[in-house]
Symmetry: C2
Subunit: 432 residues, 2 copies
């Protein structure tokens, strides 16, 4: 039985009991949210050492970090290092997206080594094997797709992006409509190529029940991949995207009926004013299951700084109801991220999700800022550093130009506003 089915039966699982405490709810409240499909509990039954997390409505907004090799850069030790960096920076989940090297062995290593939920896109490894066997992605057999999903589910992958909400009708609409960037989802592109080449419907759509059957067996959280997401600001909320979302909603309904935990993946490139509508539409069309978005990137021109463009969009998105944010790193659109990029991406995304959690009233969010404000007023630098989003970085920056133990900082020195006013209002000073 999946967490969803158990919740519907009113069974408080150990995971629900623990996670309710973590999120500041009662077990009954969290159980009801899981039963409604508005919250998923991510943990594959086979990922024995996994410490489950809850994602969805009213909970702390979660952050995912993508790692993985590319055909040109296969260095699994470096990818392991990136996971360690992401975890240290506060990522809630990791998506392992390798498309080069021995992925089977690497997945086993990652699942054994890490206790946070691990996600994947099975069609990536499927694509690699197809190239090895048939010389191309499009040579893949439909059965191979399901075999790969089964293989990854069995080994313990906790959540999977499956590009099932893509079919001939959507692609036809896309072609008729025209679009600047066509398809920018890697999984979506594989399948589109496959469908054109084989002149067949997308097997993941046509045989969606096979996907559900596997996810149900292992309690894999199904993430309906956003195959048709826009790749630039100009394409945002076009008919193809909305059509994809309608189909995603239909699949969500079937997943819920089957007792499969499900969420929906979203864009991508969205101008800021379109973010609330984008999130609302997903929630309405997809039974309010969790929305897992990439960014949102609020401009196309920030290559080199897309973690910032992503953080801007993620804040408004999370306030609007997005539940789970895939980070964007400074390397997005340019190259595979380094460990340094991974760190920058996780921290930027956590700033965004926290800024949103303050607004939506997530328990503990505002209290964190309040503690920082008091530490500033008290000129308690050690406390300020401890409370900052990334203490080692705050400590390094402050240390570069400040005497150890100095009361004010080098920005104002003796001109510190908090000190000046504190002397007159009869309180201790602080930092601006």
């Amino acid at each position: 039985m999946t967490q969803l089915i158990k919740a519907r039966q009113g069974i408080i699982t150990p995971e629900v009991e623990r996670l309710a405490k973590v999120e500041g709810l009662t077990s009954d409240e969290l159980c009801a949210k899981v039963a409604s499909g508005r919250v998923v509990i991510m943990k594959n039954k086979q990922h024995k050492n996994c410490i489950a997390i809850a994602v969805g409505e009213g909970l702390r907004t979660k952050v995912n970090a993508n790692i993985g090799t590319s055909p040109d850069c296969v260095d699994f030790a470096d990818e392991l290092h990136k996971i360690n960096v992401a975890v240290a920076a506060g990522a809630d989940t990791i998506m392992e997206l390798s498309i080069g090297g021995d992925v089977d062995a690497f997945h086993h290593q990652v699942l054994e080594k890490f206790t946070l939920p691990i996600g994947s896109v099975p069609s990536y490894q499927g694509g690699m094997e197809s190239i090895a066997k048939h010389g191309s992605v499009v040579g893949m057999k439909a059965d191979d797709m399901f075999e790969m999903i089964e293989r990854q589910a069995k080994r313990g992958i906790d959540f999977m992006a499956i590009h099932a909400a893509l079919n001939m009708s959507i692609i036809e609409r896309l072609k008729n409509q025209g679009r600047i960037t066509d398809i920018v989802s890697r999984g979506g592109a594989f399948l589109t190529g496959w469908m054109f080449h084989n002149e067949q419907e997308n097997p993941l759509y046509a045989q969606f029940d096979r996907v559900l059957e596997i996810c149900k067996r292992y309690d894999v959280t199904l993430s309906i991949g956003d195959a048709i997401r826009p790749g630039c600001i100009e394409d945002s909320l076009d008919r193809a995207q909305v059509q994809g979302l309608i189909v995603a909603g239909e699949l969500v309904q079937r997943a819920l009926e089957a007792g499969v935990q499900v969420m929906v993946e979203g864009p991508g490139h969205v101008p800021l004013d379109q973010i609330p509508a984008t999130i609302l539409l997903q929630k309405q069309l997809c039974h309010h299951v969790p929305y897992y978005i990439l960014g949102n990137l609020v401009t196309d021109i920030a290559a080199g700084y897309d973690h910032i463009a992503g953080a801007i969009g993620a804040t408004t998105a999370a306030i609007s109801g997005a539940d789970f944010i895939c980070y964007v790193t400074p390397a997005e659109h340019l190259r595979l991220p380094t460990a340094e990029d991974v760190h920058a991406g996780v921290i930027a995304t956590r700033i965004a999700t926290h800024a949103a959690d303050i607004v939506t009233g997530v328990k503990g969010a505002r209290e964190w800022d309040l503690a920082m404000a008091h530490a500033r007023k008290a000129l308690d630098w050690e406390k300020q550093i401890e409370l900052s989003i990334d203490p080692p970085t705050a400590r390094r920056i402050r240390g570069e130009r400040n005497e150890e133990g100095a009361e004010a900082c080098s920005m104002c020195g003796g001109f510190c506003a908090m000190k000046l006013v504190g002397e007159h209002l009869g309180k201790t000073g602080g930092s601006c």
Copy 2:
């Protein structure tokens, strides 16, 4: 005559004529905006080599970079270097905020060397001189304050933050109300200390006409300093802040009546959901003159990454009507920024203002993203780098892991979605 007075008389100045073209308006349209006070043209008559800029409603959102020494770090060569870095990164204006060393000489040097508008806070240099002469900031004479404003206006400072919207009544209200961070504005703190010590009303408020007279003579754009801005999320939109804004509005009215170009400085720390109301309130209470904000910082806990917290807030603020954004650097709350911090701060803020300009329909904004989207689809890497917000950084990042001239990038290699789909939809590929 100031630009405001000339505009009221229907005179199209050379600055209005040139800036209308820059902003994509007709000269008459821009002239009408200047006449209404909703746009200011920044340029002191004495800053001969200054290339004026326009700030306000419907125009491209502008970015300011603060530089300046502190008592503990006096290195004017380094501050000059920071200005060069800020200009190269695309800052529209510089505020020179030194509180250490020979500020007179440095101001002359900066005004001679740079053609963009230069701002200041005269009470900083005033405070320094008071410490030298009287041993403390609070020993300053009221006349000294006006002498300093006059001295800086005469030398050509284009815009000045004057903390006139602070009086005994506001401070009394602040005390009665209670506030976590009291006063975090450096200028506001000077004056509060001065008022307590001297048991006198704020001279800049009590003798505001003297401020106006000086600003009018040199066509200095007056920035009503946000002396009472909150220093943390929890204090946002408290009664003291709103009281300060009401008084600012009263001063704006007097400035407009006197023919002085005026804008209002704003926060600071604001949770994201309070940003639209904060901007709207300023616009309504202050005759819709330009709003010049610091950030907004949407969380207090991002020390070390406050440029990101600031960029998040700045985007929503600019969409909500903020016209002019003072950058925040990664060093905020920790120490004086380095040149590297200045660069990071300007770029992050420009990403934010551009993302907002896309939404508000500023001419050329959406077109920039569109050009990037086409370059991505065409896999034209040179063009993508040229079009990115900071080409040298984009080039460096891409170069680190990509072969020169390679079509795809190392993120996907041969698995590039744009390539895969392009082959089937009969177009050239692109980058995800």
